[in-house]
């Protein structure tokens, strides 16, 4: 393995952060209970939505005497509940919880689910916390004043992820370079080369892949072109470890990952200084910032807590957010939970496995198998020769079919037809091994596939279109 730039120890550099690391579990839970009680008491008085949900459950703020009572009796909410709330009390819904004139920023979810966009009204204090909840994982990942950060996520706009990086980089005191959106990858590379001293990159998993591939296609070795680079921070999508290993080799520095969302008002956790690799080269862990966002990990069907080592749904509660806070919000995000006792990170923070977070509602039921796009991504991108792919599930004469168009990376252009055939066969076998489904794969040109600046949407489920009588 080639060398990686060492990540600065965040706990040695910040006594404040070390206090959170050094908490005992009872101390952390006492802090969570204080914040939960404060939040519930405030929302009972200020939020028609949460007051109604509590009344329907026969719960008063004064009843929340423990985290167990909170988890057992406070009703969960989901996206459909928030959309109905917004219909009833437009535009923010009755969950806003602050005066309208205290709203400093409107954030909306991306709308990629097809169910509509949630609307969040944030106070000035929330906007600072939004920045802090971006700054925190980047600080832990080594970002320091004086560093130049290339933010490849589209800045501004309506999403939390569009505003958080600017606020977060400013809080840390680093130099922000917002290159995301509206600029081609080649133009970004030209700017990077012009600026020279780039130390940290924030990008979606998919975009870091695109950027790295484009650099290599131009004959540029990232680690040589950007010797000061000491952190690559990704979010939003899963990846295979083989890909992470190659990314670290190409860039010569540590790959970090965060888990975040609009509902979390930024990042809810990150791999910290440890990076995406755990013990013995296995997947690393994302430590959850439980003093800011309380996370429960539950079985989506039984709603019971998930055991350590199992995949469950993340349920989030904002502990410090004032405007449009989420309380026991069912995120639909699927993650492998690892208890703090099993994680052995040195802190008492719950963890989830890095690199494998998926969506319960992205899950495709194919021929009786539960298939997540992240699992297919992992199988496909464990092949170095693959540039990208697009998949579709459709119905043909009443039978479910799965087709994939696969493009080879430019650096694999010299492969012979026989070698290409072998790679495709290997991809097919890897997908079969991980998902138990057989996929029909055809080769296409890279230019025929869409480019994604942020979250990739590689799959189309067209089965309903095939249900014709």
């Amino acid at each position: 393995m080639t060398s990686r730039t060492k990540v600065a120890d965040p706990f040695a550099d910040s006594p404040q952060l070390a206090k959170f690391r050094d908490m005992t579990r009872p101390q952390l839970e006492a802090l969570q209970l204080f914040k939960v009680q404060r939040q519930v008491e405030r929302l009972e008085a200020t939020s028609p939505y949460y007051a109604r949900r509590m009344a329907e459950a026969g719960l008063k703020a004064a009843d929340v005497t423990s985290l167990e009572v909170f988890s057992e009796r406070f009703p969960t909410s989901d996206k459909a509940d928030f959309m109905a709330d917004q219909q009833q009390y437009p535009p923010f819904g009755g969950r806003l919880g602050i005066r309208r004139d205290q709203v400093a920023l409107i954030n909306m979810t991306g709308g990629t689910s097809g169910q509509g966009q949630e609307m969040y009204g944030r106070s000035q204090r929330d906007v600072h916390l939004l920045g802090y909840l971006h700054a925190l994982p980047w600080y832990m990942g080594g970002l320091r004043p004086g560093d130049t950060v290339m933010n490849c996520v589209p800045a501004g706009g309506m999403t939390t992820g569009g505003w958080g990086p600017g606020e977060g980089i400013r809080i840390i005191g680093a130099t922000a370079f917002h290159v995301g959106g509206g600029m081609s990858t080649d133009a970004k590379i030209d700017l990077m080369l012009k600026v020279g001293g780039v130390h940290f990159i924030y990008a979606s998993t998919n975009y870091l892949h695109t950027l790295t591939e484009a650099l290599l296609n131009r004959g540029i070795t990232p680690r040589d072109a950007f010797p000061g680079m000491h952190g690559l921070f990704i979010a939003a999508e899963g990846y295979p470890l083989e890909w992470a290993e190659r990314i670290e080799e190409h860039w010569g520095c540590r790959l970090q990952e965060g888990y975040g969302s609009t509902q979390c008002n930024g990042f809810g956790g990150s791999t910290g200084s440890a990076g995406v690799f755990g013990r013995d080269g296995a997947r690393g862990l994302i430590s959850l910032f439980e003093w800011e966002t309380m996370f429960e990990i539950i079985d989506p069907e039984t709603k019971l807590p998930t055991k350590s080592g199992e995949v469950g749904e993340l349920v989030a509660t904002n502990l410090g957010v004032e405007g449009s806070p989420v309380i026991r919000f069912r995120t639909g995000d699927a993650a492998r939970y690892v208890s703090w006792e099993d994680a052995g990170t040195g802190a008492v923070w719950k963890t989830i496995e890095a690199g494998s977070i998926g969506r319960f509602d992205d899950m495709m039921k194919i021929r009786g198998n539960n298939v997540w796009p992240t699992a297919i991504d992992a199988a496909v991108f464990s092949h170095n020769e693959v540039g990208d792919y697009a998949g579709r599930v459709y119905t043909d004469e009443g039978k479910t079919e799965i087709a994939m168009r696969l493009a080879f990376a430019d650096h694999a252009a010299q492969l012979s037809p026989a070698e290409r055939k072998a790679v495709i066969a290997s991809v097919r076998a890897a997908v079969k091994e991980r998902t138990n489904i057989y996929i029909d794969i055809t080769e296409c040109a890279r230019s025929e596939l869409p480019e994604f600046a942020y979250k990739a949407r590689r799959w189309k489920d067209e089965r309903q279109a095939g249900y014709k009588l």
Binding site: P15, K19, M23, A30, L31, Q124, V127, H128, W291
Partner: protein
């Protein structure tokens, strides 16, 4: 590195009180900026909290 947390908490509390006095201004051009300042101090108090 010395831990200045006890002093920091006291300083931020005093700053918040001062900022709240500024927020009572009748100057509507400055009011939003004072509110912004107060909110940033309040957020720092919130994110530094390690106990109930």
């Amino acid at each position: 590195m010395a831990d200045q947390s006890h002093d920091d908490d006291a300083i931020l509390k005093a700053m918040l009180e001062q900022a709240e006095r500024l927020c009572a201004t009748g100057d509507t051009m400055l009011k939003g900026q004072y509110d912004y300042l107060r909110a940033r101090i309040d957020a720092l108090i919130e994110l530094r909290r390690t106990a109930a």
